[in-house]
Protein backbone atom coordinates (compact mmCIF):
# COMPACT_ATOMS: atom_id res chain seq x y z
CA UNK A 1 0.00 0.00 0.00
CA UNK A 2 2.82 2.42 0.94
CA UNK A 3 6.39 2.22 -0.31
CA UNK A 4 8.98 4.69 0.88
CA UNK A 5 12.46 4.80 -0.61
CA UNK A 6 15.38 6.81 0.74
CA UNK A 7 13.23 9.67 1.99
CA UNK A 8 15.00 12.92 2.89
CA UNK A 9 13.49 16.01 4.41
CA UNK A 10 15.20 18.99 5.96
CA UNK A 11 14.11 22.39 7.21
CA UNK A 12 16.82 24.83 6.16
CA UNK A 13 19.98 23.44 7.77
CA UNK A 14 18.17 20.95 9.99
CA UNK A 15 18.17 17.44 8.51
CA UNK A 16 15.07 15.75 9.93
CA UNK A 17 14.61 12.67 7.75
CA UNK A 18 17.86 11.19 6.54
CA UNK A 19 17.05 8.35 4.22
CA UNK A 20 14.01 6.42 5.38
CA UNK A 21 13.08 3.25 3.54
CA UNK A 22 10.16 1.01 4.39
CA UNK A 23 7.04 -0.49 2.94
CA UNK A 24 3.66 -0.99 4.49
CA UNK A 25 1.24 -3.61 3.23
CA UNK A 26 -2.47 -3.34 2.67
CA UNK A 27 -4.32 -3.66 5.98
CA UNK A 28 -1.11 -3.45 7.95
CA UNK A 29 -1.02 -1.45 11.18
CA UNK A 30 2.32 0.17 11.90
CA UNK A 31 3.16 2.01 15.09
CA UNK A 32 6.03 4.50 15.01
CA UNK A 33 7.90 5.33 18.20
CA UNK A 34 10.89 7.56 18.82
CA UNK A 35 12.19 10.45 20.86
CA UNK A 36 10.85 13.97 20.51
CA UNK A 37 12.33 15.59 17.42
CA UNK A 38 13.27 12.29 15.80
CA UNK A 39 11.08 13.09 12.79
CA UNK A 40 7.92 11.04 13.47
CA UNK A 41 5.50 13.81 12.62
CA UNK A 42 7.55 14.93 9.68
CA UNK A 43 7.47 11.41 8.25
CA UNK A 44 3.67 11.19 8.57
CA UNK A 45 3.27 14.63 7.05
CA UNK A 46 5.39 13.62 4.08
CA UNK A 47 3.04 10.70 3.45
CA UNK A 48 0.17 13.08 2.65
CA UNK A 49 2.40 15.85 1.32
CA UNK A 50 1.72 18.36 4.09
CA UNK A 51 5.51 18.48 3.88
CA UNK A 52 7.21 18.09 0.53
CA UNK A 53 10.30 15.87 0.79
CA UNK A 54 13.51 16.99 -0.92
CA UNK A 55 14.64 13.57 -2.00
CA UNK A 56 13.31 10.03 -2.23
CA UNK A 57 10.21 8.30 -3.46
CA UNK A 58 6.83 7.63 -1.90
CA UNK A 59 4.29 5.32 -3.53
CA UNK A 60 0.77 5.20 -2.15
CA UNK A 61 -1.45 2.55 -3.71
CA UNK A 62 0.94 2.35 -6.65
CA UNK A 63 1.00 6.10 -7.34
CA UNK A 64 4.27 8.00 -7.11
CA UNK A 65 3.06 10.95 -5.04
CA UNK A 66 6.33 12.84 -5.36
CA UNK A 67 6.22 12.86 -9.16
CA UNK A 68 6.00 16.34 -10.67
CA UNK A 69 2.50 17.32 -11.72
CA UNK A 70 0.82 14.98 -9.27
CA UNK A 71 -2.58 16.18 -7.99
CA UNK A 72 -1.96 17.03 -4.32
CA UNK A 73 -5.65 17.20 -3.47
CA UNK A 74 -6.31 13.78 -4.94
CA UNK A 75 -3.36 12.26 -3.08
CA UNK A 76 -4.61 13.69 0.19
CA UNK A 77 -8.09 12.28 -0.31
CA UNK A 78 -6.52 8.83 -0.20
CA UNK A 79 -4.68 9.44 3.05
CA UNK A 80 -6.78 10.49 6.02
CA UNK A 81 -5.00 12.23 8.85
CA UNK A 82 -5.81 12.52 12.55
CA UNK A 83 -4.01 15.21 14.53
CA UNK A 84 -2.86 15.46 18.12
CA UNK A 85 -5.09 18.48 18.75
CA UNK A 86 -8.05 17.20 16.70
CA UNK A 87 -8.25 20.35 14.57
CA UNK A 88 -12.01 20.14 14.22
CA UNK A 89 -13.66 23.12 12.53
CA UNK A 90 -15.07 25.05 15.52
CA UNK A 91 -17.75 26.88 13.53
CA UNK A 92 -19.31 23.65 12.30
CA UNK A 93 -21.30 20.95 14.06
CA UNK A 94 -20.01 17.40 14.33
CA UNK A 95 -22.14 16.43 11.35
CA UNK A 96 -20.99 19.40 9.27
CA UNK A 97 -17.36 18.72 10.15
CA UNK A 98 -17.72 15.27 8.65
CA UNK A 99 -19.83 16.13 5.61
CA UNK A 100 -17.92 19.26 4.53
CA UNK A 101 -15.21 17.56 2.50
CA UNK A 102 -17.51 14.96 0.86
CA UNK A 103 -19.81 17.84 -0.12
CA UNK A 104 -17.20 20.23 -1.44
CA UNK A 105 -14.38 18.00 -2.59
CA UNK A 106 -16.34 15.01 -3.87
CA UNK A 107 -19.38 17.11 -4.81
CA UNK A 108 -21.63 14.63 -3.10
CA UNK A 109 -25.37 15.40 -2.96
CA UNK A 110 -26.36 16.96 0.41
CA UNK A 111 -28.68 14.09 1.36
CA UNK A 112 -26.05 11.51 0.56
CA UNK A 113 -23.33 13.44 2.43
CA UNK A 114 -25.54 13.68 5.49
CA UNK A 115 -26.25 9.97 5.41
CA UNK A 116 -22.56 9.23 5.05
CA UNK A 117 -21.73 11.53 7.97
CA UNK A 118 -24.33 9.86 10.19
CA UNK A 119 -22.93 6.45 9.32
CA UNK A 120 -19.45 7.62 10.28
CA UNK A 121 -20.72 9.13 13.54
CA UNK A 122 -22.40 5.84 14.32
CA UNK A 123 -19.14 4.07 13.65
CA UNK A 124 -17.31 6.12 16.30
CA UNK A 125 -20.23 5.84 18.72
CA UNK A 126 -21.42 9.43 18.55
CA UNK A 127 -24.66 9.12 16.62
CA UNK A 128 -26.42 11.34 19.19
CA UNK A 129 -23.90 14.19 18.86
CA UNK A 130 -24.62 15.16 15.27
CA UNK A 131 -25.66 18.72 16.16
CA UNK A 132 -23.05 19.39 18.82
CA UNK A 133 -20.33 21.95 18.20
CA UNK A 134 -16.76 20.87 19.00
CA UNK A 135 -16.60 23.15 22.06
CA UNK A 136 -19.44 21.16 23.61
CA UNK A 137 -17.67 17.83 23.16
CA UNK A 138 -15.04 16.27 25.41
CA UNK A 139 -11.53 15.78 24.04
CA UNK A 140 -12.16 12.11 23.44
CA UNK A 141 -15.39 12.83 21.60
CA UNK A 142 -13.71 15.51 19.51
CA UNK A 143 -10.99 13.11 18.48
CA UNK A 144 -13.57 10.51 17.51
CA UNK A 145 -15.38 13.07 15.37
CA UNK A 146 -12.02 13.90 13.79
CA UNK A 147 -11.53 10.23 12.98
CA UNK A 148 -15.03 10.04 11.50
CA UNK A 149 -14.27 13.15 9.43
CA UNK A 150 -11.17 11.52 7.95
CA UNK A 151 -12.98 8.22 7.34
CA UNK A 152 -15.79 9.95 5.46
CA UNK A 153 -13.42 10.58 2.54
CA UNK A 154 -12.97 6.81 2.27
CA UNK A 155 -9.17 6.97 2.44
CA UNK A 156 -7.00 3.98 1.63
CA UNK A 157 -4.59 4.81 4.45
CA UNK A 158 -5.10 6.48 7.82
CA UNK A 159 -2.31 8.47 9.47
CA UNK A 160 -2.45 9.24 13.20
CA UNK A 161 -0.08 11.73 14.82
CA UNK A 162 -0.17 11.16 18.58
CA UNK A 163 -3.96 10.91 18.57
CA UNK A 164 -4.27 10.40 22.33
CA UNK A 165 -1.43 12.45 23.79
CA UNK A 166 -3.61 15.52 24.35
CA UNK A 167 -6.30 13.49 26.13
CA UNK A 168 -7.03 12.75 29.77
CA UNK A 169 -6.40 9.10 30.67
CA UNK A 170 -10.09 8.19 30.88
CA UNK A 171 -10.65 9.36 27.31
CA UNK A 172 -7.66 7.65 25.80
CA UNK A 173 -9.40 4.30 25.89
CA UNK A 174 -12.47 5.36 23.92
CA UNK A 175 -10.29 6.69 21.12
CA UNK A 176 -8.01 3.65 21.11
CA UNK A 177 -11.05 1.36 20.96
CA UNK A 178 -12.24 3.10 17.81
CA UNK A 179 -8.77 2.71 16.32
CA UNK A 180 -8.59 -0.97 17.24
CA UNK A 181 -11.94 -1.53 15.54
CA UNK A 182 -10.60 0.18 12.41
CA UNK A 183 -7.56 -2.09 12.52
CA UNK A 184 -9.81 -5.15 12.74
CA UNK A 185 -11.84 -3.82 9.81
CA UNK A 186 -8.68 -3.98 7.72
CA UNK A 187 -7.70 -0.32 7.45
CA UNK A 188 -4.06 0.39 6.62
CA UNK A 189 -2.84 2.52 9.51
CA UNK A 190 0.34 4.40 10.38
CA UNK A 191 0.20 5.51 13.99
CA UNK A 192 2.69 7.68 15.85
CA UNK A 193 2.01 6.81 19.47
CA UNK A 194 3.69 5.62 22.61
CA UNK A 195 0.58 3.73 23.76
CA UNK A 196 2.11 0.33 24.23
CA UNK A 197 -1.20 -1.38 24.95
CA UNK A 198 -2.51 -0.34 21.58
CA UNK A 199 0.68 -1.35 19.81
CA UNK A 200 0.70 -4.80 21.38
CA UNK A 201 -2.94 -5.44 20.67
CA UNK A 202 -3.41 -3.88 17.25
CA UNK A 203 -0.05 -3.31 15.58
CA UNK A 204 1.56 -5.71 13.14
CA UNK A 205 4.85 -3.88 13.35
CA UNK A 206 6.60 -1.28 15.45
CA UNK A 207 9.16 1.07 13.91
CA UNK A 208 11.70 2.84 16.09
CA UNK A 209 12.78 6.09 14.51
CA UNK A 210 15.94 7.82 15.66
CA UNK A 211 17.41 10.99 14.18
CA UNK A 212 15.49 10.57 10.97
CA UNK A 213 16.29 6.96 10.19
CA UNK A 214 14.65 3.65 11.06
CA UNK A 215 17.03 1.98 13.46
CA UNK A 216 14.89 -0.97 14.43
CA UNK A 217 11.60 -2.52 13.41
CA UNK A 218 9.68 -5.70 14.01
CA UNK A 219 6.63 -7.20 15.70
CA UNK A 220 5.59 -5.30 18.86
CA UNK A 221 6.66 -8.04 21.29
CA UNK A 222 10.11 -8.20 19.77
CA UNK A 223 10.77 -4.46 19.64
CA UNK A 224 9.37 -3.77 23.08
CA UNK A 225 10.74 -6.77 24.97
CA UNK A 226 13.74 -7.98 23.00
CA UNK A 227 15.18 -4.90 21.34
CA UNK A 228 18.38 -5.63 19.45
CA UNK A 229 20.13 -2.29 19.62
CA UNK A 230 21.37 -0.36 22.67
CA UNK A 231 19.78 2.84 21.29
CA UNK A 232 16.35 1.19 21.30
CA UNK A 233 16.87 -0.23 24.78
CA UNK A 234 17.85 3.16 26.09
CA UNK A 235 14.79 4.83 24.57
CA UNK A 236 12.40 2.16 25.82
CA UNK A 237 13.78 2.41 29.33
CA UNK A 238 12.76 6.08 29.26
CA UNK A 239 9.15 5.56 28.21
CA UNK A 240 8.30 2.33 30.03
Amino acid sequence: MIKVKNLHKSFDQLKVLRGMTTSIGKGEVVVIIGASGSGKSTFLRCLNLLEIPQKGEIFVDGIDICAPGVNLNLVRQNTGMVFQHFNLFPHKTALENISLAPLKVKKMAPQEAKKLALTQLERVGLRDKENAYPRHLSGGQQQRVAIARALAMQPKVMLFDEPTSALDPEMIKEVLNVMKQMARDGMTMVVVSHEMGFAREAADRVIFLDEGVIVEEGPPEQVFFHPQLPRTKEFLSQIL
Partner: protein, 219 residues
Protein backbone atom coordinates in the same frame (compact mmCIF):
# COMPACT_ATOMS: atom_id res chain seq x y z
CA UNK B 1 -23.25 82.19 30.80
CA UNK B 2 -26.32 84.09 29.65
CA UNK B 3 -24.64 84.92 26.33
CA UNK B 4 -24.81 81.26 25.24
CA UNK B 5 -27.80 80.75 23.00
CA UNK B 6 -28.58 77.21 21.99
CA UNK B 7 -31.73 78.19 20.12
CA UNK B 8 -29.44 78.41 17.08
CA UNK B 9 -29.45 74.61 17.05
CA UNK B 10 -33.24 74.43 17.02
CA UNK B 11 -33.48 77.02 14.27
CA UNK B 12 -31.03 75.16 12.07
CA UNK B 13 -32.15 71.68 13.03
CA UNK B 14 -33.23 70.49 9.54
CA UNK B 15 -29.96 71.67 8.00
CA UNK B 16 -27.89 69.97 10.70
CA UNK B 17 -29.83 66.74 10.22
CA UNK B 18 -29.15 66.86 6.50
CA UNK B 19 -25.47 67.11 7.37
CA UNK B 20 -25.76 64.20 9.77
CA UNK B 21 -27.47 62.15 7.09
CA UNK B 22 -24.60 62.83 4.71
CA UNK B 23 -22.07 61.86 7.40
CA UNK B 24 -23.83 58.56 8.06
CA UNK B 25 -24.39 57.85 4.39
CA UNK B 26 -20.80 58.44 3.36
CA UNK B 27 -19.42 56.57 6.40
CA UNK B 28 -21.50 53.46 5.84
CA UNK B 29 -20.70 53.49 2.13
CA UNK B 30 -17.00 53.88 2.89
CA UNK B 31 -16.95 51.14 5.50
CA UNK B 32 -18.70 48.73 3.12
CA UNK B 33 -16.38 49.57 0.24
CA UNK B 34 -13.44 49.59 2.62
CA UNK B 35 -14.37 46.11 3.78
CA UNK B 36 -14.49 44.80 0.19
CA UNK B 37 -11.21 46.49 -0.75
CA UNK B 38 -9.60 45.44 2.52
CA UNK B 39 -10.60 41.79 2.19
CA UNK B 40 -9.17 41.50 -1.31
CA UNK B 41 -6.01 43.35 -0.36
CA UNK B 42 -5.57 41.10 2.69
CA UNK B 43 -5.89 37.99 0.52
CA UNK B 44 -3.47 39.50 -1.99
CA UNK B 45 -1.01 40.21 0.81
CA UNK B 46 -1.21 36.61 2.02
CA UNK B 47 -1.07 35.10 -1.46
CA UNK B 48 1.96 33.39 -2.89
CA UNK B 49 2.31 35.83 -5.77
CA UNK B 50 5.22 38.24 -5.23
CA UNK B 51 3.58 40.83 -7.46
CA UNK B 52 0.32 40.84 -5.46
CA UNK B 53 2.23 40.92 -2.19
CA UNK B 54 4.29 43.88 -3.34
CA UNK B 55 1.33 45.87 -4.67
CA UNK B 56 -0.90 45.25 -1.67
CA UNK B 57 1.95 46.01 0.72
CA UNK B 58 2.72 49.27 -1.07
CA UNK B 59 -0.95 50.31 -0.97
CA UNK B 60 -1.27 49.61 2.74
CA UNK B 61 1.98 51.34 3.65
CA UNK B 62 1.32 54.38 1.51
CA UNK B 63 -2.23 54.95 2.71
CA UNK B 64 -1.39 54.39 6.35
CA UNK B 65 1.75 56.49 6.07
CA UNK B 66 0.09 59.65 4.67
CA UNK B 67 -2.61 61.88 6.17
CA UNK B 68 -6.18 61.40 4.99
CA UNK B 69 -6.39 65.15 4.47
CA UNK B 70 -3.56 65.04 1.95
CA UNK B 71 -5.12 62.04 0.18
CA UNK B 72 -8.40 63.93 -0.14
CA UNK B 73 -6.63 66.99 -1.55
CA UNK B 74 -4.90 64.85 -4.17
CA UNK B 75 -8.21 63.32 -5.21
CA UNK B 76 -10.29 66.49 -5.25
CA UNK B 77 -7.85 69.28 -6.08
CA UNK B 78 -4.99 67.35 -7.67
CA UNK B 79 -6.64 64.98 -10.11
CA UNK B 80 -8.45 67.65 -12.18
CA UNK B 81 -5.00 68.74 -13.35
CA UNK B 82 -4.70 65.31 -14.99
CA UNK B 83 -8.11 65.76 -16.53
CA UNK B 84 -9.87 63.59 -13.95
CA UNK B 85 -12.72 65.51 -12.40
CA UNK B 86 -14.51 63.88 -9.49
CA UNK B 87 -17.50 65.60 -7.96
CA UNK B 88 -17.16 66.21 -4.25
CA UNK B 89 -19.28 63.27 -3.21
CA UNK B 90 -17.41 60.85 -5.46
CA UNK B 91 -14.06 62.18 -4.25
CA UNK B 92 -15.25 61.85 -0.66
CA UNK B 93 -16.55 58.31 -1.09
CA UNK B 94 -13.49 57.12 -3.01
CA UNK B 95 -11.05 58.85 -0.68
CA UNK B 96 -12.60 57.51 2.47
CA UNK B 97 -13.05 53.98 1.04
CA UNK B 98 -9.49 53.72 -0.17
CA UNK B 99 -8.24 55.04 3.14
CA UNK B 100 -10.38 52.69 5.18
CA UNK B 101 -9.49 49.75 2.91
CA UNK B 102 -5.87 49.91 3.99
CA UNK B 103 -6.75 49.71 7.67
CA UNK B 104 -9.35 47.00 7.08
CA UNK B 105 -6.79 45.00 5.09
CA UNK B 106 -4.52 44.86 8.11
CA UNK B 107 -7.44 43.90 10.35
CA UNK B 108 -8.52 41.09 8.02
CA UNK B 109 -4.96 39.89 7.53
CA UNK B 110 -4.44 39.69 11.29
CA UNK B 111 -7.79 37.89 11.58
CA UNK B 112 -6.82 35.26 9.03
CA UNK B 113 -3.40 34.79 10.57
CA UNK B 114 -4.90 34.38 14.03
CA UNK B 115 -6.61 31.16 12.94
CA UNK B 116 -4.62 28.16 14.13
CA UNK B 117 -2.63 26.69 11.26
CA UNK B 118 -3.94 23.25 12.18
CA UNK B 119 -7.24 24.36 10.61
CA UNK B 120 -5.67 24.83 7.21
CA UNK B 121 -3.78 21.54 7.58
CA UNK B 122 -6.92 19.64 8.55
CA UNK B 123 -8.77 21.08 5.56
CA UNK B 124 -5.92 20.31 3.16
CA UNK B 125 -5.52 16.80 4.56
CA UNK B 126 -9.14 16.16 3.55
CA UNK B 127 -8.28 17.00 -0.03
CA UNK B 128 -9.57 20.57 -0.12
CA UNK B 129 -7.73 23.04 -2.31
CA UNK B 130 -6.23 26.12 -0.69
CA UNK B 131 -9.07 28.28 -2.02
CA UNK B 132 -11.74 25.90 -0.74
CA UNK B 133 -10.11 25.75 2.68
CA UNK B 134 -10.03 29.54 2.75
CA UNK B 135 -13.69 29.88 1.82
CA UNK B 136 -15.21 27.16 3.99
CA UNK B 137 -12.83 26.90 6.93
CA UNK B 138 -10.58 29.92 7.46
CA UNK B 139 -12.62 32.97 6.41
CA UNK B 140 -15.80 32.12 8.35
CA UNK B 141 -13.72 31.82 11.52
CA UNK B 142 -11.62 34.88 10.75
CA UNK B 143 -14.73 36.92 10.02
CA UNK B 144 -16.10 36.45 13.52
CA UNK B 145 -12.83 37.56 14.99
CA UNK B 146 -12.61 40.73 12.92
CA UNK B 147 -16.09 42.02 13.72
CA UNK B 148 -14.98 43.91 16.86
CA UNK B 149 -11.95 45.61 15.24
CA UNK B 150 -14.13 46.45 12.23
CA UNK B 151 -16.68 48.23 14.41
CA UNK B 152 -13.74 50.07 15.92
CA UNK B 153 -12.65 51.04 12.41
CA UNK B 154 -16.16 52.31 11.70
CA UNK B 155 -15.94 54.54 14.78
CA UNK B 156 -12.64 55.98 13.55
CA UNK B 157 -14.07 56.44 10.11
CA UNK B 158 -17.11 58.39 11.29
CA UNK B 159 -14.81 60.77 13.14
CA UNK B 160 -12.46 61.04 10.17
CA UNK B 161 -15.36 61.84 7.87
CA UNK B 162 -15.42 65.33 9.42
CA UNK B 163 -12.32 65.99 7.31
CA UNK B 164 -14.51 65.76 4.23
CA UNK B 165 -15.68 69.27 5.06
CA UNK B 166 -12.47 70.57 3.49
CA UNK B 167 -13.43 69.27 0.08
CA UNK B 168 -16.75 71.04 0.35
CA UNK B 169 -18.92 68.05 1.13
CA UNK B 170 -21.78 69.26 3.31
CA UNK B 171 -21.67 66.66 6.01
CA UNK B 172 -22.23 67.35 9.68
CA UNK B 173 -19.05 69.36 10.25
CA UNK B 174 -19.46 71.55 7.19
CA UNK B 175 -23.12 72.10 7.96
CA UNK B 176 -21.92 73.51 11.26
CA UNK B 177 -19.43 75.78 9.51
CA UNK B 178 -22.17 77.14 7.26
CA UNK B 179 -24.31 78.03 10.24
CA UNK B 180 -21.35 79.54 12.04
CA UNK B 181 -20.56 82.01 9.26
CA UNK B 182 -24.16 83.21 9.42
CA UNK B 183 -24.67 83.31 13.18
CA UNK B 184 -21.22 83.47 14.86
CA UNK B 185 -22.48 81.01 17.50
CA UNK B 186 -19.29 78.94 17.23
CA UNK B 187 -19.35 77.52 20.72
CA UNK B 188 -22.96 76.38 20.66
CA UNK B 189 -22.71 74.87 17.21
CA UNK B 190 -19.52 72.92 17.66
CA UNK B 191 -20.32 71.66 21.14
CA UNK B 192 -23.58 70.37 19.73
CA UNK B 193 -21.78 68.74 16.80
CA UNK B 194 -19.28 67.17 19.17
CA UNK B 195 -22.21 65.77 21.12
CA UNK B 196 -23.74 64.27 17.98
CA UNK B 197 -20.47 62.53 17.04
CA UNK B 198 -20.13 61.34 20.60
CA UNK B 199 -23.62 59.86 20.74
CA UNK B 200 -22.97 57.91 17.54
CA UNK B 201 -19.54 56.62 18.49
CA UNK B 202 -20.56 55.88 22.08
CA UNK B 203 -23.52 53.84 20.89
CA UNK B 204 -21.25 51.94 18.52
CA UNK B 205 -18.70 51.24 21.22
CA UNK B 206 -21.47 49.91 23.48
CA UNK B 207 -22.56 47.60 20.65
CA UNK B 208 -18.92 46.65 20.23
CA UNK B 209 -18.67 45.69 23.89
CA UNK B 210 -21.78 43.56 23.55
CA UNK B 211 -20.43 41.83 20.44
CA UNK B 212 -17.11 41.15 22.13
CA UNK B 213 -18.84 39.47 25.06
CA UNK B 214 -21.06 37.43 22.74
CA UNK B 215 -18.14 36.27 20.61
CA UNK B 216 -16.13 35.36 23.66
CA UNK B 217 -18.90 33.10 24.91
CA UNK B 218 -19.11 31.24 21.62
CA UNK B 219 -15.36 30.81 21.20
Amino acid sequence: MKFLDYSVIIKNWPFLMLGLRETLRISSLAVTMGFCIGSFVALARLSRSHMLKLLSGAYIEFIRGTPLLVQLFILYYGLPQLGINLDRRAAAAIGLSINSGAYVAEIVRAGIQSIDKGQMEAARSLGMSGTMAMIYVILPQAFRRVIPPLVNELIMLIKDSSLLSVIALTELMRAGEHIRTRTYKDFEIFTFIALVYFVITYTLSKILGYLERRLQVSD
